[in-house]
């Protein structure tokens, strides 16, 4: 029987109490789900991930994590705070934000060290991740010396080493070359295959069928406008068009250019 991990009720959040970022969000995420928050630029996807990771708290409405209210008071309880950080991991959109230590190695071990994992266990987990992600060559390098793809891999390693139950990913495939992208998608698949929950914010329609089984669409009013399976939602061209999510494909046929919406047929 699945358990509800996150439950958001009439949740709203604004920047500086002036600029609405999320409006009246109602959302339920069950344990083991692989879900994508799909929306055009500026629809509040990243803010929603930050709310789910309890980095910001709603102005109105509520968010519950395994039935417990998430608010500033909850994080005054050191035991709960540590437990939450151990169970939920967020990979930020920009690796330059995520990688703040002098070396790649220090960045990878930062999380478990703060969470009190033993040094031997950290070394074991790190060795395993280095092999899986094939990052041994640059483990002692400085983050600013890495390419975008390498930084992304290290960012993911820095969260996976915590062994969270819920993985939050903010635009994980943005700016990656096809080979790195493939490797990353396989990694997310493997993580989900272990029964863990994956929540991805993206606007990349090409990647959605691989990133998620369920979709929630955020619209320009910064609220959730649709909730369903990947198959149902991607088949609804009107809904995608209304939300600036139709990918217009342009290519050449017999010497002339041809435009049509890109069709998605998830299996």
């Amino acid at each position: 029987m699945s358990k509800t991990i996150f439950e958001l009720e009439n949740l709203s959040y604004s920047y500086l109490n002036k600029f609405p970022a999320l409006v009246n969000i109602n959302l339920k995420i069950e344990s083991g789900e692989k879900v994508a928050l799909l929306g055009a630029n500026g629809t509040g996807k990243s803010t929603l991930l930050h709310i789910l990771d309890a980095l910001v708290f709603p102005d109105t409405g509520r968010i519950r994590f395994f039935g417990r209210d998430l608010n500033e008071n909850a994080f005054n309880d050191e035991k709960f705070s540590r437990e939450f950080r151990r169970r939920v991991g967020l990979v930020f959109q920009s690796p330059d934000v995520q990688l703040f230590c002098p070396t790649v190695k220090e960045d990878i071990v930062f999380g478990p060290l703060q969470l009190g994992v033993t040094q031997n266990e950290i070394k074991k987990r790190m060795d395993r991740l280095i092999e899986i992600l094939n990052i041994r060559d640059f483990i002692n390098r400085q983050p600013h010396q890495l390419s975008v793809g390498e930084k992304k891999k290290v960012s993911i390693a820095s969260v996976l080493i915590i062994e969270p139950e819920v993985l939050l990913l903010d635009e994980p495939t943005a700016g990656l070359d096809p080979a790195t992208c493939r490797q990353l998608l396989d990694l997310i698949d493997d993580f989900h295959a272990q029964g863990k929950t994956v929540i991805t914010a993206t606007h990349d329609l090409h990647m959605v069928p691989e990133l998620a089984e369920g979709l929630r669409i955020l619209n320009k009013e910064r609220t959730i406008t649709a909730d369903g399976s990947c198959q149902e939602i991607l088949a609804n061209q009107d809904l995608l068009k209304q939300n600036n999510l139709v990918h217009i494909h342009k290519h050449r046929h017999d010497g002339s250019w041809h435009k049509h919406p890109h069709q998605h047929s998830p299996t």
Binding site: R85, G89, F92, P102, E106, G111, L113, Q119, N140, H144
Partner: protein
């Protein structure tokens, strides 16, 4: 009405970017098989620190010059290009010594002025030598082993890390302006662009500051950084 073109903004920007690029290049010296590179970082740091202390307490210029020459010898034995080393140390001299010593030269206390300049040059050269022959990550670890609080070492490491990110932003901004302007711009317009860019970099650094703190919180940071024992 014609205006003379002023390229000081361009010179300052390029100078700053090339300084940081040189810093990346300079890391190569730390991995060369030279004399100082072979010494264990903690012993090396203690040795250099005692030489800096000696240069502070020596009261005669000739003896200080001997110490300075010893520093140059150590640099040569550590396979550091002397021209690079001299450029690297003398670039700081106007800031750290010459401006301060200038009144002494004008009031006839030339010997005192020379002693002060040579003393600063010698201690600065030893400090630069330590930085050039030790990878900065090992330098940070050495600081920790000397009992410097982890919070301070971590802040220093983060400054070093993000200074490169900002150098990259500055360089890209300069290239973006250059690609759109095509030639020299009026200096007043140049000042306007530079002022606006400084403000936007300030905003960017504030945002980055907040985001990085969030990234730290997200991975369990509670205000007391912990490090791996190695």
């Amino acid at each position: 009405m014609k205006f003379k073109s002023h390229n000081y903004i361009q010179r300052s920007l390029l100078g700053m970017v090339s300084f940081f690029k040189e810093a990346i290049f300079a890391e190569e010296f730390a991995f060369k098989p030279g004399l100082l590179q072979k010494i264990e970082p903690r012993i090396k740091a203690a040795l250099i620190l005692s030489l800096i202390l000696a240069s502070i307490f020596i009261k005669t210029t000739p003896l200080l010059l001997v110490l300075y020459l010893f520093c140059l010898l150590l640099a040569a034995l550590s396979r550091i290009s002397l021209i690079f080393f001299l450029k690297r140390t003398w670039v700081f001299m106007p800031i750290f010594a010459l401006i301060i010593a200038l009144p002494l030269f004008f009031t006839g206390r030339i010997q005192e002025g020379v002693l002060f300049v040579v003393r600063v040059l010698t201690s600065l050269s030893f400090a630069v030598l330590l930085g050039l022959t030790t990878p900065h990550t090992l330098l940070l670890k050495t600081m920790r082993s000397f009992g410097i609080p982890q919070m301070f070492v971590m802040t220093l490491g983060m400054c070093y890390r993000y200074i490169f990110l900002f150098a990259e932003i500055i360089e890209n901004t300069y290239l973006a302006i250059k690609s759109r302007v095509g030639g020299a711009i009026h200096y007043k317009h140049g000042q306007h662009i530079a002022t606006w860019k400084i403000a936007s970099l300030w905003q960017k650094s504030l945002q980055l500051n907040k985001d990085i703190y969030d990234a730290m919180l997200s991975r369990g940071y509670t205000g007391e950084p912990k490090v791996l024992d190695e």
